[in-house]
């Protein structure tokens, strides 16, 4: 696919042979600018992600954290790339469960690509490790979050906000 090749060409996602990754793609009828805002701004993320917000300035090299509605930090890391409205890369280290924390730092790449009257959103979450429990947990979260985001942008209503990823009490 030429679109695929184009999207991947600036900085291909490193698919390691030693690790594991999940890829999610979803087509959303909106503009790249609106989608990018929805991915980064707290008033949007809180609406489709069950109150979760990013705590960061989005400046490359600056800290990044995912905050739960109760103020706890679910995940923390660093902004690696921030290229509106095309691409975000963060290092992502789970903080709440000691078991998942011990698996180390994952990498999350978010790409936006105009596709006709829609935008193709791709999320790649990877970790240098096999049979990662963290990625298993994340993989149950992303489809719900992205479906809710799509619904919010296309209809103005999020799907019943999914529980924050890994929010185990």
């Amino acid at each position: 696919m030429t679109n695929e090749a184009k999207a991947a060409s600036p900085a291909p996602i490193s698919t390691t042979t030693t690790g594991e990754q999940f890829i999610y793609t979803i087509y959303i009828r909106t503009t790249a600018e609106k989608l990018f805002a929805a991915l980064t701004q707290p008033e949007f993320t809180a609406a489709y992600w069950g109150g979760v917000t990013h705590d960061t300035t989005w400046k490359p090299g600056s800290p990044w954290a995912l905050k739960l509605p109760d103020g706890r930090t679910a995940d923390a890391g660093e902004v690696i790339e921030y290229d509106p409205p095309r691409r975000i890369v963060v290092s992502w280290h789970h903080q709440l469960s000691p078991e998942l924390n011990a698996e180390g730092v994952s990498r999350c790449v978010i790409e936006l690509e105009p596709f006709g009257e829609s935008v193709k959103l791709t999320v790649v979450h990877s970790l240098d490790r096999h049979e990662s429990k963290f990625l298993q947990a994340v993989s149950t979260g992303w489809p719900a979050i992205l479906s809710s985001l799509k619904s919010l942008l296309e209809t103005g209503e999020p799907i019943a906000p999914p529980k924050p990823v890994l929010d185990k009490k």
């Binding site: 291909p12 490193s14 698919t15 890829i23 793609t25 979803i26």
Partner: protein
């Protein structure tokens, strides 16, 4: 996403087998997906294209390899369409019960 494309893609047992194989191990090349499967390379390529058009499979390049990944988003959307959020816990319990009973039966035989 066109729901018809998703249902048509899922209607074929060969394509469901390919999705099962990606579910078991994500990120395979065409060559890996062809191993130990009773389908020609051309047939696998054709089925992968249909799955990709339905957004059930996502691909990334790694060097010269094209890796295929199961993209569960359209299946999630099907579930969102017909499964009420309050039913999910009960459905999970029933599914687990079925799996537990059927797998222990298998061991007895």
């Amino acid at each position: 996403m066109d729901a018809d494309l998703v249902f048509r893609a899922l209607a074929d047992p060969s394509r469901r087998l390919l999705l099962d194989r990606l579910f078991a191990r994500n990120g395979q090349t065409l060559g890996e997906l062809c191993e130990g499967i009773n389908m020609t390379r051309q047939a696998v390529t054709k089925h992968l294209n249909i799955l990709e058009n339905a957004n059930l499979v996502a691909t990334r390049r790694r060097g010269r390899d094209k890796l295929h990944f199961l993209n569960p988003i359209p299946i999630h959307q099907i579930a969102d369409r017909w499964i009420n959020k309050y039913e999910r816990v009960q459905l999970r319990a029933l599914t687990n019960l079925k799996q537990a009973l059927e797998s222990s039966e298998g061991e007895d035989q």
